[in-house]
Symmetry: C4
């Protein structure tokens, strides 16, 4: 079967360059971060007749600004997560490439689920859809790490490897558990749910409860 | 003829830097991947009065999500293809630069043909146009490799070179043949045609039928 | 407390790669620069019946072109500022990563505040909002430098370090003072305010008053 | 005058990293290339009732596709031009940074002048505006090279330097002369003008009249 052989050869030759994955990832993240803004429509001039009108209209943009901030944090957290993984991964194969691409699929769709949430912020379905996006990001990032580790693409001394690997995996599991709790809060109140998710993200972004100062 | 001389000199000095081609390619792919999402319009709030309404409206987005996924796969496959080529190409000239740019022309137009397909999914012409885009991507990528090989820009030992070159070229030919069959299915049914194309792409992305495990 | 330990480990492993921050920054700046143009809407053909009509309509775009130029300068100045900082910063940690991301948050929101200004150019609130954006860029860039310096990520001999650090910090403080004065001019006239800000930016871009020629 | 000193120091420290300029340039070019497509609006489904309708409507997009192709070529030519310059420039200062940024200003505005041209393709003013954009790109690229050369940022042995420098400069001057002639043709016919410009670009892209084969 020559075709299988051909495919096998292609598998072996595809996806050696980690730099290209990093470059396309930074591109997709950069664009997703910036596209989010396109959803915040500038109110048209016709309806505005005074400074007070303008300020009032601007305040009406609060849900959009809130979901913008929410998604900026989400993207920042997952960008950091992927960056950390690739600081230890030095080689790649075709499957790891595609795992990265599927991760980027969920990155690139985030501006849509964000816009969906900000347009329909009063419905549980919007929160659920947004949470599903975060969940998909977590799952692909987790599989990405496990695959890279199992196939020997993580370059670390064995002792250190275990510590790093445990930290990477535990972080995703803990974060996803918190996100799931946050999303479940929408059965009580949708704004509570969004507030909880933003607090979780602020924790991860700012490291509020990490006490790094205590022991060096 | 001093102008011809000037041109010749310019030919010789233009396009040495493969890094720049890789960078602009990753940029164009990243943007094309993300622009696809702009086509999935969030339904406006006015027509929605309940969770059930919202879920129903969301389900109405299925053709858009389907074509989004279709084009994401297309871009992923051709990005992988170009990445593989450049992992062997270390130098470039002006003509190779322009072959890359024409390849990127068809990458950057894919969000348009995708939107065209999702808006007019019931017409054969849309499938034909979409297929023409995939075909143009395949042709430019094929010529790109042949040109690079003939002009000595592929850096591999001769023995390995033959295996790699055969794999790269055969892959494009086999994939394009399958795409052509998939597109031709639109004379039976358009949804069959799109399903076949997605299955072909899933095969290439996930390597479903590659049996890499059997012999190392 | 195993979780705190996990977090600490993650802090230590996160954010070593300065290249990724630079790449995502260049991406966000590039997109912000280009998205600004989307705000300049091409007048539709229906209302145009002669060359004179077209020229007149084009001239009506002046406020948009003015704010486009204004924001292009703003982005150029802050891109230069961040580039200068990273030419001295060779390592990074998770907090520096997030300081960069917050800086990019204000970069990516600039197309919005710019569009807001060009749509509502006759209101002080628009100028205030735009100034707040510039102020936030200055503050995050200042904190970014101070943090990098205090944590030993700036790689320079101590003597030189002091000169560079003073120059970087003084520049931000002087520029922000001038911007504040420029923005305050909006209580006299909004066009005066914008003119002053553009003049400040031209000074920083072109180095009009720097007399670099006098002493080498 | 401590401020002047501060400025001078900043001038000296700003803009050493050519990599960052190259990265932001590739980003801006990649986005400009892709944004051009957003101007080609997919016809809405409501007005289409048959395959023939769809094909007819698609053919109505010809002016858009033409200007899209035109601008793709323009961007490709100037991207190649800037890439060639930076393959010889290894250091930079603040002024060279800003010359690059102004060049990118005219790159990022090209999707606007292109959309303007395709919407008002029957008016000479549109052709004039488009030509002005090409002219501005040529002028900034020319000044960029001359500045880099005069300040010793071009790294080449003196003998070779002269040949390369002459080739770079002559190319811009000849191309701009041809563009000016092409644009002037709009006083005869606008479509002639656009055709001539496209032919000039095809010449530069494909090297039709360069006879590279005659003497190696």
């Amino acid at each position: 079967m020559p075709e299988t052989d051909n495919q096998k050869t292609y598998n072996q030759i595809a996806g050696q360059k980690v730099q290209r994955i990093e470059a396309i990832s930074d591109g997709v993240f950069a664009i997703a971060l910036t596209l989010l803004v396109l959803d915040i429509k500038v109110p048209v001039a016709d309806a505005i007749h005074s400074e007070a009108d303008l300020i009032k209209t601007f305040c009406g943009l609060t849900p959009r600004l809130l979901t913008y901030f929410l998604s900026f944090m989400t993207l920042g957290i997952f960008w950091t997560g992927q960056t950390v993984q690739y600081s230890y991964i030095e080689k790649s194969d075709r499957h790891l490439n595609w795992l990265s691409l599927f991760f980027l699929l969920f990155v690139s769709i985030l501006p849509f689920t964000t816009a969906f949430l900000s347009e329909h912020i009063e419905y549980k379905f919007s929160v659920g859809l947004y949470w599903a996006n975060i969940f998909a990001l977590g799952v692909t990032l987790y599989i990405h790490w496990v695959y890279a580790e199992r196939h020997g693409y993580v370059t670390l001394p064995p002792a250190e490897n275990e510590v790093v690997s445990k930290a990477v995996k535990k972080r995703i599991v803990v974060a996803q558990t918190l996100y799931a709790i946050g999303a479940a809060c929408c059965f009580i109140s949708i704004y509570l749910s969004i507030t909880v998710i933003i607090l979780i993200q602020l924790n991860y972004a700012l490291g509020l409860f990490t006490k790094t100062g205590r022991k060096k």
